[in-house]
């Protein structure tokens, strides 16, 4: 039952494969499937919200022998968010993606990617998690290189090699876990690791996981592939990458470091340091870039730092901050790259030195785009603001004052970067560039396609606004997730069937 979203995306991807080259039909089907997928995710979310953790043992083999799928609040929230992002990107690509790319399997791969993500969010088995990771990275490889342009290939080379390296490390880590515990079920592993005398080995293993997931989630000093590659594919692809791929790394880190390696203080300290440096590097990187895609790329890095910071401090409050920020970040980062895609379509460039005049020519769109941009900055009471309160509070409690300084600095740099972007792209008078690029400009597109590009931005901006103004609900959600993560006994009992869970 829990695997329904995964199975559904699998079916969707497969069906779409059969309509190879029939792009119009694919567009329609993809949007339809995404809507249904979203429906399923909402249903699952509500179910778990009402009933607490739910378990499906694949093939009915009881844990820890088969592969367990676990839907806890964190997992289903991530599934829900990935469905939302998936829907938005699906609509956006239907409007903006070049036909040639659609003919070469864009939509099926998109659905496989979502399937991989949702599988990873729901699985309770560490090796299964690895396999889902591989689905995600191979799909992302394909999406990244789809089109085979020079820039794309160069970026992809770095992306592919570093991600393969990360997978290799992940595999090594799994090997050690199996060697230490003889088990792969994360709940079971958690218990067995806990009973292990040789804490040093556990700690080293967790270090390998830290690096493996660290590469995926682009934390310092492992983020290099991200600024090198994220701006190279079409914005729709970057959007789904930005929203979900790095967050998968964060998810995995949150999951493993709360469940299996809970409370390793040394690693926590390392994470806090890395978080500060990640914020710093991302912020500094974004400061000087002229290409919008790159600016946003570095901002992703910067904000990954906020997420790691919470995990590093490892208090319930801090994790709450991380989870809240994660929810906000998935929505807003997906939106941001769609914004950059829209601006690219309108002007034919992403270079902020050449851009301009948006405000004059497209006042309504400009105001719409202001929502994700300023949500990102965290202008209160928009969505990026709330998590910072938790993080700063947590920092005061754990006395990580330097980290607070970096969080403030990171927020300030984001503010500055976005304000500069606004003044260059929206306020400044643009240069009239010769319209020489491939593909259609926004003004040349059909009304339907234009709407297909604008609507997902409206949708995600709406959700961002909800996160900001309805913060109370999101806080309750984050609180519940954080409690569940910090005390994994409920998860473990549910998976291993030690006790039937009643919410």
């Amino acid at each position: 039952m829990i695997v329904l979203p995964i199975i559904f995306q699998f079916v969707a991807g497969t069906i779409l494969l059969f309509f190879w080259q029939k792009t119009t039909l694919q567009k329609f089907l993809s949007i339809l499937f995404s809507i249904i997928g979203l429906g399923i995710s909402i249903w699952l979310f509500l179910l778990v919200w009402e009933n607490g953790i739910m378990i499906t043992q694949s093939g009915d083999w009881k844990a820890p022998f088969g592969i367990s799928f676990v839907a806890d609040t964190f997992g289903v929230t991530m599934v829900l968010l990935s469905s939302i992002s998936g829907l938005a990107v699906s609509i956006f690509s239907a409007g903006s993606m070049r036909k040639e790319r659609l003919e070469f399997g864009f939509f099926p791969i998109l659905h496989f990617l979502i399937m991989g993500l949702q599988g990873a969010f729901l699985t309770g088995d560490i090796f299964n998690l690895y396999v889902w990771f591989e689905v995600v990275i191979i799909s992302s490889f394909v999406l990244l290189t789809l089109g085979g342009k020079k820039q794309q290939l160069e970026g992809a080379l770095k992306y592919v090699s570093l991600n393969l390296l990360a997978s290799s490390l992940f595999l090594i880590g799994i090997g050690f876990i199996y060697g230490l515990t003889g088990s792969l079920n994360m709940a079971d592993v958690a218990i067995k690791l806990d009973n292990l005398q040789n804490r040093g080995l556990v700690s080293v293993t967790s270090g390998i996981f830290l690096v493996a997931f660290g590469i995926k989630s682009a934390i310092f000093p492992m983020y290099f592939w991200l600024p090198a590659s994220y701006h190279t594919p079409p914005p729709a692809v970057s959007a789904i990458f930005a929203g979900l791929l790095t967050k998968l790394g964060i998810y995995a880190m949150l999951r493993t470091f709360t469940l299996m390696f809970g409370g390793d203080e040394f690693m926590g300290d390392i994470m806090v340091i890395l978080a500060a440096l990640t914020i710093f590097s991302g912020g500094l990187g974004a400061l000087l870039q002229q290409n919008m895609g790159k600016i946003f790329g570095y901002l992703i890095v910067c904000h990954i730092g906020f997420l790691i910071a919470g995990l590093g401090m490892y208090t319930e409050l801090a994790i709450m901050g991380t989870v809240f920020y994660l929810i906000h970040d998935i929505i807003v980062k997906t939106n941001l790259f769609m914004v950059s895609g829209l601006i690219l379509k309108i002007n034919g460039t992403q270079d902020i030195r050449e851009l301009g005049g948006m405000y004059k020519n497209f006042p309504i769109i400009s105001l719409l785009l202001a929502i994700p941009l300023f949500s990102l900055v965290g202008i209160p009471p928009l969505s990026g603001f709330w998590a910072k309160i938790f993080l700063i509070q947590a920092g005061l409690q754990t006395q990580d004052y330097v980290l607070i300084g970096f969080i403030v600095l990171g927020s300030f740099l984001t503010l500055w970067v976005i304000a500069r972007l606004w003044s260059e792209v929206f306020w400044k008078n643009g240069i009239d560039l010769p319209k020489k690029a491939n593909g259609l400009y926004f003004s040349q597109m059909t009304k339907t396609d234009q709407w297909l590009m604008v609507f997902p931005i409206v949708l995600l901006s709406g959700i961002s606004l909800y996160i900001g103004f309805g913060a109370e609900n999101i806080i309750i959600l984050s609180q519940r997730i954080s409690t569940e993560l910090m005390d994994p006994s409920g998860y473990i009992e549910a998976v291993l069937g030690l006790k039937t869970m009643t919410p």
Binding site: R98, T145, G148, G179, T205
Partner: protein, 769 residues
């Protein structure tokens, strides 16, 4: 009350929708909003006088302790009245000032958004919601300063202003959270009860430092003052409203508000006195060095803000009273002066005080308003400015040992400000009208009535202080000082030192005005000090930070994949080494190690040789073959150790890989030698270290007793439950069937990817949308 606050936001959102209607039907319709709010707040005068303060609660984010509670007391009421009252005048003024402007509706949208935010700042009882509104004022200020967005200078000023105030805001956020951690609440009213605890806590110093940064940036105190003159790029109504009468006073509001809570300690008082004094003198000197009317006013505003900080710093009852009166007096006369400047600019097209003269011949009512404002600014009797100045001198004179110095500084500032005020309010109207301004005429009453009205109020309150003493100033004083002392405002204090100082101020100020003519030369003389001005230092620091950002980014994001790999793995190696040697007891238990047979040794040697070949050879084919041999040797291991299925798989996959390699890559040109010996050595060293660590770790994990519960279950039930004899296969297709299914998906996706990589080739030379 909630509606009163958020009405502006609703209004701002709705403006685009009904702008066409308003433009046609009621051009000054927008002004009804601040006007009705002004009347709304006026009603509370009586209630505040009797009750002290009123609280309103609206729930918002209870789990964070954040709500929309509003506290209406003397201080907030004064600000609310100023915000809505001056707001109403500015709204009306704008109707004519920006008549026919293409983006007038946007302007009103931002303006009402600002008004609502500012009301939120002064009315919020909850510090976190106050902060939210605080940041919103910064943002609306950003949009308003950049309103003439096609002008690069406007954009730059907007960005500078936002950077400074935004930075201060974030710092203050940390302060608020820290305060909450110590005091246990975000509610100001509740915090008041734990004032002593907070003052005695170890973090008190941090709290006030963080709050000071917030207040000083917002209220343009030295050394953060320079964004304010830059903000004068905004249209004059904005300068009037935000950058003189209301927004810049948010910092003052904050300090005044927190005086009963955090004030009256050594650090509080001495910091505020120092910063305030430096700002007021520094900016007052600057104001008489300028020739642009708006610059003069900007600096005199900074100076006035400095005076307020200075007074709050002194902290005695008299000083706080003086601050309370001065907030009002300043708002009245400075807003008038700004509006008048706007009129002059609008009618003559010039703001150069050296050229402007004799305008009273064409715009008498404006001139009258200007005179009143200038005189109030100077502190001439019968005007509100006089009363505030008197009380201020009283306060400085009572300040113990430092009284003389402080009084002298205050007098000096006042003298300079008098000159600045006269230049702005009197100079343009007296003398003979230059021919170039011959076409200037009296503008629409919509423009001159607002400053005139402000003048009337200055005069009225100044002449009859009893109009506001009890109803307004008394509650303001109580809420700033927290004391119940009954205050009295009088015009005539008797013949005493204060009066002497007053006269001294007026006489010497008047003399200075007479002798000192505004000119650009004065300013030019100070240019050489610009190098050490705070603006230069801070902007230089920003630039330096930018270059540093460049160096940092280029250092890490250098474009070389091998550097990325080396950074990542060096980090991992260090981490592992540190933990491994620090925490793990390294030992080998020979009992667990099985014996070695001859053929195994052969395979091992073969493998080592082929690995070395694979990495050292320069020929592609050789390294591919060597790689193949590594794979096959791997196969043999699998075979020896009871894994025939694995051996099979490895064998076929290995063959496929080698074939693929041969087919695809052999055609590439010969490998070149790229790296130098040194780099190779470094890489080899790191690689060996990494390999060794992995090896040691593997061995140690191997030595741990393993649990075989899971595999035992598989083995025992494979046949019984899953009907299969080959347990590996059973695991693959049944126990862990999901893995296998997804594995297939991976292959399918890879196939799609390979296909599209080979087939799809978009024109690489052109940009792609």
């Amino acid at each position: 009350m909630l509606i009163a606050v958020i009405l502006g936001f609703i209004f701002a959102i709705l403006v685009p929708f009904f702008s066409k209607f308003v433009k046609k039907a009621i051009p000054f319709g927008y002004s009804l909003l601040p006007l009705s709010l002004f009347i709304f707040f006026l009603q509370f005068l009586g209630e505040i006088k009797s009750k002290g303060h009123i609280l309103f609660h609206y729930q918002w984010v209870p789990s964070l302790g954040i709500d929309l509670s509003f506290r209406l007391d003397g201080l907030s009421l004064l600000f609310a009245l100023m915000i809505t009252g001056i707001g109403a005048l500015v709204f009306i003024y704008t109707t004519y000032y920006l008549k026919g402007h293409k983006y007038l509706d946007r302007f009103y949208g931002y303006l009402s958004m600002f008004m609502a935010s500012m009301l939120g700042v002064v009315l919020s009882d909850n510090l976190m919601s106050m902060f939210i509104f605080w940041e919103l004022t910064s943002i609306s200020s950003y949009f308003l300063i950049g309103f003439n967005n096609e002008d690069p200078a406007s954009r730059k000023s907007a960005l500078t202003a936002l950077s400074i105030t935004g930075f201060g805001g974030l710092v203050m956020l940390s302060g608020i959270i820290l305060l909450q951690a110590v005091g246990g609440s975000y509610s100001f009213t509740e915090l008041l009860n734990s004032s002593e605890i907070i003052k005695n806590s170890t973090t008190y110093g941090w709290i006030i430092a963080l709050f000071f940064v917030g207040a000083f940036t917002k209220s343009a105190q030295f050394p953060f003052h320079f964004w304010l003159p830059g903000a004068m790029k905004a249209p004059t109504p904005v300068s009037t409203y935000l950058h003189s009468a209301t927004m810049v006073k948010a910092g003052i509001y904050l300090l005044a508000r927190f005086t009963p809570l955090l004030g009256d300690t050594f650090w509080w008082n001495s910091t505020l006195i120092t910063v305030g004094a430096v700002t007021m003198v520094f900016a007052a000197i600057h104001s008489v060095l300028r020739v642009d009317l708006k610059s003069i006013l900007a600096y005199s505003t900074i100076s006035a803000l400095g005076i307020l900080v200075f007074l709050i710093g002194i902290g005695s009852e008299k000083a706080l009273l003086a601050a309370g009166i001065f907030i009002l007096a300043h708002a009245l006369y400075k807003a008038a002066l700004f509006l008048i400047t706007g009129i002059i600019d609008h009618e003559t097209g010039s703001r150069d005080v050296t050229k402007l003269a004799g305008l009273q011949q064409v715009m008498m009512p404006v001139a009258v308003a200007g005179f009143i404002a200038a005189l109030s600014s100077a502190g001439v009797p019968l005007l509100l400015g006089f009363i505030s100045k008197e009380v201020m001198y009283e306060a400085t004179l009572q300040f113990g040992d430092w009284a003389i110095i402080l009084t002298a500084l205050a007098v000096l500032t006042k003298i300079l400000l008098l000159v600045a005020g006269f230049w702005a309010g009197i100079k343009p109207f007296t003398g003979t009208l230059p021919a170039e301004f011959g076409k200037a005429k009296l503008p629409s009453p919509l423009l001159w009535i607002p400053p005139f009205l402000l003048g009337v109020l200055s005069l009225g309150f100044g002449t009859f202080p009893s109009l506001i003493t009890e109803s307004l100033i008394q509650p303001v004083f109580s809420s700033i000082s927290g004391s119940d002392t009954i205050i009295q405002l009088k015009l005539w204090h008797g013949f005493n030192l204060v009066l002497v100082l007053s006269i001294l101020t007026l006489v010497s100020g008047g003399a200075l005005y007479w002798f000192l003519k505004p000119s650009n030369d004065l300013f030019q003389k100070t240019v050489r000090f610009e190098a050490i001005s705070p603006q230069n230092i801070i902007e230089g620091g920003g630039k330096l930070f930018g270059s540093f950002a460049g160096i940092w980014t280029r250092f890490f994001q250098n474009g070389y994949l091998r550097n990325y790999v080396i950074t990542i793995l060096a980090f991992l190696t260090l981490l592992m080494a540190y933990r491994l040697f620090g925490e793990v007891n390294i030992y080998i238990d020979w009992n667990q190690i099985s014996a070695v047979s001859h053929y195994e040794i052969i395979v091992v040697v073969l493998m080592i040789i082929s690995i070395l070949f694979a990495i050292s050879t320069n020929s592609r084919s050789v390294s591919i073959v060597a790689l193949g041999v590594v794979g096959f040797a791997n196969c043999l291991f699998f075979l020896f150790y009871s894994a025939p299925d694995l051996a099979m798989t490895q064998f076929s996959i290995d063959t496929l890989t080698v074939l693929l390699f041969m087919l695809v890559l052999v055609k590439l040109p010969k490998n070149k030698q790229y790296s130098s010996k040194g780099i190779k050595m470094r890489d080899a060293l790191l690689s060996l270290l990494f390999g060794t660590l992995i090896a040691i770790l593997t061995l140690e994990v191997f030595e741990e007793p393993s649990s075989s519960e899971v595999s035992k279950y598989f083995a025992e039930n494979a046949y019984i439950l899953a009907k299969g004899r080959n347990v590996v296969n059973i695991i693959l297709v049944d126990y862990r069937g999901f893995d296998t299914m997804i594995e297939t998906v991976v292959l399918v996706i890879a196939a799609v990817g390979v296909y599209s990589l080979m087939k799809l080739n978009l024109n690489p030379s052109k940009k792609d949308l």
